[in-house]
Amino acid sequence: MAVLRRDLTLAWRQRGDMALPVLYALIVTSLFPFALGPEDALLRRIAGGVVLVTVLLAMLLAMDAMFRSDIEDGSLEQLMLAPQPLALMLGMKILAHWLATAVPLIVIAPLLAGMLHLPTPVMPVLLLALLLATPLLSLLGGVLVALTAGTRRSGMLLALMLLPLCVPVVIFAAGALAAAQEGLPWIAPIAWLGAALVLAVVLAPLACATALRIALDS
């Protein structure tokens, strides 16, 4: 809990960094109508997918910094030496990171979707899909960030490694949105996302701890 409180305080002290992914998502979304033309029908059809991918990219942008400052000032090594289980503390760190980056993005998602004329009935499904998909991405990303902890340049590498892992997440989240947009039942892909999230909550912190021990073991 102390780790969570400390990380949230740190994030709050640097509010500018928190706003960056939100601004990024806003800019990317507003570029789509320019690139594809402002027709309502087209924008309505792609709105869900665009918001989803934009949020994902914005999270990727912030993911690199998940353990960055802790590695630089050595507090991550302190955590690894602490008597408390490392997986639990890393889970708290990932939760803090999710609260600081993904929650603002979810809050702004209806605005982004509105800019692209997403039909109102689909909006709750979008929020639900994001609520399940973003923690999943944070957890998967946490494992990969831990793997790259020992390296200096990791931005592009992280994107390359995260792509195969986020393909299923995007497919299921977008599947739910597409089904909702056509008025079909959308609960099945959402349930899959939920199942994956439960699995990730249990396994990802453990994998993250193992990865960190391997990457910093020297």
Binding site: L163, L165, V167
Partner: protein
């Protein structure tokens, strides 16, 4: 009892022993790959009859299918080697896992290229977002991620161990991707060759295919041995046995 098998494996995992073992078998593997490859190409491109629907275009399967099998087979080998490297900390397993990655990536790349050449004639498009094509592409990205992660560390062994962990994550991920993209979109034809039960492919077409499979396997062994030998030399460059090899070569 058959005590000599674990003993032999244990000895083989020592770098100098494996270096000599790989050096002895590598020429044979190359020769086998070349001979079988030429026989399979002759059988596939000349002897096998044209397909009644696809004409001569189907002949690309003699390259495409063995490479696609190899792309998965090499990943499996890499995963097993990574597991051994992480659990028992055997140096040789790290080297084998990392030497497999570029070979597997090339097989995956060849599969994608030959597949899109065939798709351009048969489906009328170079690329389509079909389930199998997409999972093969994701597999390529997994390979590239492992290679890139391995090379981004200054310490070779640490890079290898970290990349090995990524390879293990990938092994869990491959079936998930396979399932999710199948659910998403499918166009690719089903399998026509089965290990158990009758295959729905003519015998005159299947023997070159199987020969080519053996050829790609022995090419993999040859390439793996060559890469492992160089990596072992680089990794152990301070050790006595490497110095002896270098001195012997300088004398000769």
């Amino acid at each position: 009892m058959a005590n000599w098998i674990p003993l032999w494996l244990h000895k083989l995992s020592s770098p100098p022993v494996f270096y000599r073992f790989a050096g002895r078998w590598r020429p044979w593997a190359i020769a086998l790959a070349l001979v079988l490859g030429i026989v399979a190409l002759y059988g596939g491109l000349v002897l096998a009859p044209p397909d009644y629907q696809q004409g001569d275009d189907y002949r690309i399967i003699f390259i495409h299918v063995p490479c696609a099998w190899m792309s998965l087979f090499v990943y499996a080998i890499m995963g097993v080697a990574s597991f051994i490297a992480l659990v028992w900390r055997i140096k040789l397993a790290e080297v084998v896992a990392m030497a497999s990655a570029p070979i597997g990536a090339s097989f995956t790349f060849i599969t994608l290229v030959t597949g899109s050449l065939w798709g351009a004639r048969m489906w009328g498009t170079w690329w389509t977002w079909d389930a199998r094509l997409t999972s093969e592409l994701v597999l390529l990205f997994l390979y590239l991620g492992v290679i890139a992660l391995c090379h981004s560390f200054e310490d070779r062994r640490q890079g290898a161990r970290t990349a090995a962990f990524l390879a293990l994550i990938g092994i869990v991920n491959v079936p998930i991707v396979e399932f999710s993209v199948n659910w998403w979109n499918t166009l690719h034809q089903g399998s026509t060759i089965r290990l158990l039960g009758p295959s729905s492919i003519a015998p005159s077409m299947i023997w070159p295919l199987l020969t080519m499979t053996v050829a790609t396997k022995s090419y993999y062994i040859a390439s793996l041995f060559g890469r492992t030998r160089t990596d072992l030399l680089a990794l152990e460059s301070g050790k006595d046995w490497v110095r002896q090899i270098a001195e012997n070569e300088a004398r000769a």
